[in-house]
């Protein structure tokens, strides 16, 4: 999900972010060379070194974006000390066991639902102010989605919390076993600006359902929603266990210094690397929900009208391309491209009118930095003369017209980075099968889409293309299905959520084995004898016959 989180907001934060891991590795290597046999105490001092170098690098990033921070309207500074206090409070709430009970979890989910019902007007207003998001989009893609995931969690919570029985084998007989889900502890959720409500509250639902104490850090790039979330969550939920911390780089850095039991980050790969390196210090597991260039492969034997409108609504009707699962580019055959393009243009006019820049049904570009980046993609020399539709920009209103680019070269900017905006390149290939190869030669995307009626192509696509999710004959829809795990692979992230998977993402599955003392196999214990070895072999083979033979001294 190319949702630019705070750390990116500096003149040169990318490199700094990339350096964090490198710097740490180097200092680690140095340290280990110096102390080949490391003791506990040395290790501790070493950990401090890591910490220091991490803080220093975070600071570099912070200073790089000082300008931006100065302009931000964060009310009060949230520093390391404040983060310590916050963590202390949440830890004690968690250790008291409050958040573990079914009653607490369900009461919080109910309040959350009530919050959504009471405040949909405020939510739509905030989304409009941050992103000019049409009410309809705000409703379908944000409010309704969370409501349904909240309702699902409430309905299924008891089931999810139940221990799962596990079979036991002959080697451990007689015994019974179960897998007990337990909350991880205090978790941090860092969300993004493009779906500022959905991407904040959806993981919070999973964290609450699993019985954790939660800190949410909404994106400062959607300021209206950030402050609304702080206000609403403060009003409706239990503040001793669920907190919102608003802010940008310094706040996020202060948060990342703490020892969390899980960090759930939605955003881009650059910041994800910083988050994961910070998490490594405390061995904290992470879920990284990132993005990538999600391709759409369009075959020629399709229902053109339905295909075109599904693509147009998926690209421009979902926050104007600023969605992690939005189609990034299209691949089709040389022959079919003109037909497809005509139909796309037709539906663009049908959906957004002749003057899309002023259509109330289209979101604006998130913020000015992001606008400048998109403008740069358009101004790239490599695609000059290849823009076949749209291309107009309006800096003052942060609007860019729906734009189609035909045959952008592979090394152009628009084909090298995630677009995350209303620009749609179309890549043409000789045969449709070449499209599969094209996709496979690039980093693994969050989603891959295919429009075809050929069974064989469908099968090839599903089995050969590695992506977070695959949808055949539609786009983005898998996001709304709570029985499917939502998450990336490779460059598009790790870990998955939605529905039961959200609960699992914030739970530890504890293995519990109950044994009786009866029926103990003495073969396991020393003193070791040849007879015991035979019995062991039989036990581990699981062959009853062998066990009997061994017990009677045969074989």
């Amino acid at each position: 999900m190319e949702a630019l989180s705070p750390l990116r907001e500096g003149p040169d934060p990318n490199e700094a972010a990339m350096d964090v891991a490198g710097d740490l590795s180097k200092s680690m290597i140095k340290f280990y060379r110096r102390y080949p046999s490391i003791t506990h105490r040395q290790h501790r001092s070493f950990s401090l070194q890591i910490h220091a170098s991490l803080c220093r690098l975070m600071l570099t990033i912070t200073m790089a974006s000082e300008e931006q921070v100065k302009n931000s309207t964060a009310p009060a500074m949230f520093d390391t000390e404040a983060a310590n206090c916050l963590m202390k409070e949440l830890r004690s709430t968690f250790l008291a066991g409050k958040t573990k009970s079914y009653e607490w979890r369900s009461s919080q989910l109910k309040s959350l639902l009530k919050m959504l019902e009471d405040s949909d007007k405020q939510i739509c207003d905030a989304l409009f102010s941050d992103l000019s998001k049409p009410e309809m989009e705000a409703y379908i893609h944000e409010i309704a989605m969370i409501k349904s995931s909240c309702k699902l969690a409430l309905k299924k919570l008891k089931d999810w919390m139940k221990p799962e029985k596990a079979k036991t084998n002959l080697g451990t007989f007689p015994s019974s076993a179960e897998i007990v889900p337990e909350p991880l502890g205090v978790v941090l959720i860092i969300s993004a600006w493009n779906y500022p409500l959905l991407l904040s509250v959806d993981p919070v639902i999973g964290a609450i359902a699993a019985g954790n104490a939660v800190v949410l850090k909404p994106s400062e790039l959607a300021p209206a929603m950030s402050s609304l979330l702080a206000k609403l969550l403060g009003k409706y939920l239990d503040n001793s266990a669920i907190k919102v911390v608003e802010g940008a780089v310094p706040e996020t850095s202060a948060l990342l210094e703490q020892k969390w039991d899980k960090i759930f980050y939605t955003g881009n790969g650059r910041v994800a690397r910083v988050v994961m390196a910070a998490a490594a210090k405390n061995l904290t597991p992470v879920v990284l929900e990132l993005g990538g260039k999600s391709p759409v492969l369009v075959d020629s034997n399709i229902d053109l009208t339905v295909t075109a409108r599904r693509i147009v609504s998926g690209k421009w009707g979902c926050n104007n391309g600023q969605a992690c699962v939005a189609p990034d580019y299209i691949i089709t055959t040389k022959q079919y491209a003109p037909v497809l393009i005509d139909s796309l243009k037709h539906h663009l006019v049908k959906f957004f009118g002749e003057d899309p820049m002023n259509s109330p049904d289209m979101s604006k570009v998130g913020h000015s930095r992001h606008f400048a980046r998109l403008k740069k993609l358009l101004d790239d020399d490599k695609i000059s003369g290849k823009i076949i539709h749209g291309g107009q920009t309006d800096k003052s209103n942060l609007k860019i017209a729906p734009t189609i680019v035909l045959d952008a070269p592979e090394d152009s900017l628009i084909m090298s980075e995630e677009i995350f905006g209303p620009l749609l390149p179309i890549v043409t290939v000789e045969k449709i099968e070449d499209g599969v190869e094209f996709i496979n030669s690039r980093p693994k995307p969050l989603a891959a889409y295919l429009f075809t009626n050929t069974k064989q192509l469908k099968e090839e696509f599903v089995s050969n293309i590695s992506a977070g999710g695959v949808v055949i004959n539609d786009v983005t829809l898998h996001l709304m299905v709570d029985t499917l795990p939502f998450g990336g692979v490779g460059e598009s992230g790790t870990g998955a959520y939605h529905g039961k998977f959200s609960f699992d993402a914030f739970s530890h599955k504890k293995a519990v084995l109950y044994r009786g003392f009866f029926g103990d196999a003495p073969a396991r214990y020393p003193p070791y004898t040849p007879g015991k070895l035979r019995l062991l072999k039989a036990l581990l083979d699981g062959s009853l016959f062998g066990i009997i033979r061994a017990l009677f001294g045969f074989s």
């Binding site: 080949p36 897998i179 690397r273 055949i472 299905v481 530890h508 109950y514 214990y525 070791y528």
Partner: protein
Amino acid sequence: MEPNLDDFEGELKELREIFNSGKTREASWRKSQLKGILSLLKEQEHDILKALHQDLGKHHVEAYRDEIGTVAKSANYALGNLKKWMSSKRAKLPLASFPSSAKLVPEPLGVVLIISSWNFPFGLSFEPIIGAIAAGNVVILKPSELAPQCSLALANTIHDYLDTTAIKVILGGRHVGEKLLQHRFDKIFFTGGASVGQFVMTAAARNLTPVTLELGGKCPAVVDFISSSWDRKIAIKIIIWGKFGVCAGQACIGIDYIITTKELASTLVELLKKYINKAFGYNPKVINSIAKIINKNHFSRLKELLDEPGVKSSIIYGGLPDDENLFMEPTILLDPPLDAAIMKEEIFGPLLPIITLGSIEDSVDFIKTRPKPLAIYGFTNNENLQKKMISETSSGSITFNDAIIHYAADTLPFGGVGGSGFGRYHGKYSFECFSHEKAVMVRGYLIDFGFRYPPWNNKKLQLLKSGLRYDYITLVLIKLGLKSKA
């Protein structure tokens, strides 16, 4: 001898090409490799046991139990279930997305790196390899340089029995490990200590590589009063075995220390002493019933633990180190100071502290206030205590009235939480650990609701509201113009 890794990038590229060729995805390939592991274990049993004896002084029955038998069991289990694991799972869909179908398709991650540790050099290498192969990945194994004979045996046997174009062993020490970690893998599976774990994860962050960290921790055994003398006897045997009988306590799930009540302590100590002699003989070093300490560093670490003031005086049994043979006597300590290193660090050796508390229920608080261990063992028939332990403490696993054995249960996930690591494996979980579960949704063209698309109007909003509530009757009414508000 350390390999030259200068052209590792080239080698990695070749491995990636092998993966892209789709060879490792074939069920037949996965099966043949799993069978290869089985015949490797069977035919090379002698060499494996010999290497384990050289590096760790493991008795051959112990070695067979922990490193050959258990692995063969897992390989068989994977072979038996492979087809089921590889098949895709249907997912239910709401009516609103009709007509469509959805499934979860497991796919291999790509080229995976497995870094294993020295204490169970074969077990902890093959167990994840089985999962990685079953899931269809290309595998690079870096065994520990601290068990050199075992690592060499691993490299040789894997070379002889498995497909070396897709399964590689890289030998070497820390230096080689560091170099390896500079490259991009699709998954890193690490077994070892927390400090190296941090290093591995930090390196992985650079490429956003997902990691599984199998670490350790101080695994407590809570010993309650057990009324039946038969049960008590078995409990004692299990504890002795779970502490000294698994690589001399050098096991991540070995019992680290005992918690019991003040009342029970003296009986427990007497029984432990008695059965230690029964199990290992009066001179375990000579009859080789207990493994040795891996190397000098670890040996002196253990000696340092014992030398701390306050700790030395708490030794009530054993405590005699034999520097020359790196052999440490089974040692029992009663109530060493809680702030001593022996009660703060993972012991990873044959030293067994016993902590006494006022009541056995206090053990829950004692465990709760310390870092989360990989395993907790409870020797009790008291169901209330069992329940309290399950719900109030957090650990990778809990086993009642036994120890270690959960490692062999294929149906249970094995892995830590908090300080003891994250990610899980064994059985089906090993397969999942090395797979990506791809969500696949297939739609038809037949029905396509216009209200999904802009330009937006109020009617569409109402339609969507009812559609998303799965309120199909209202949806039809609005569609027909018979109702205006959902």
